[in-house]
Point group: C2
Chain length 100, copies 2
């Protein structure tokens, strides 16, 4: 194989590695994003400042991502968005429960 | 081309169409998700119940998606996440400004 092709192949592999690392990091961060908010509402028993519109958009958004993951059979997307959806639904429940 | 192959090709195209529709819908919904929350904080001048931890995770999360979009040159991901990042930074600013 000519040296140039090998170098190109290496650069492509390095870029794929970086894309995979960024994707994996993104998945881990996504999963824990709403945990501090869920804990805060639970501790203060207050969700007055949270927008129900944004919460419902989040439900729709994460559900679409879950559907995308199922259609493309990408299991990291399925797992991440299942975790996020459960937390978002938790916030919707809190918003309806804690009226103060 | 044998009929079976043609049918398989059609099914594959239909699935790709569905994946693209779900992806586009997801992008549109993502872009507007935090708009109601930004408007609500602006109107009430209160962000007490919002978790700074979740806001910072959102900044990290959306930045990673933006980086992913830049690395993969996927412009819908770049545009969507630029819009979302501007709204999330807006919420961080509000959280720091409106202390009540």
């Amino acid at each position: 194989m000519p040296c140039g092709v090998n170098k190109l192949e290496n650069e492509k592999n390095n870029k794929m590695d970086l894309i995979n690392i960024v994707g994996t990091l993104g998945g881990i961060v996504s999963s824990v994003t709403f945990l501090p908010q869920v804990i805060k509402i639970w501790q203060t028993k207050s969700a007055k400042d949270l927008s129900m519109g944004t919460l419902l958009f989040l439900v729709l958004n994460v559900s679409l991502w879950l559907l995308y993951g199922v259609l493309t059979k990408l299991y990291p997307i399925i797992i991440t968005n299942s975790i996020v959806l459960s937390m978002v639904l938790c916030m919707v429940f809190f918003k309806l429960t804690f009226k103060k």
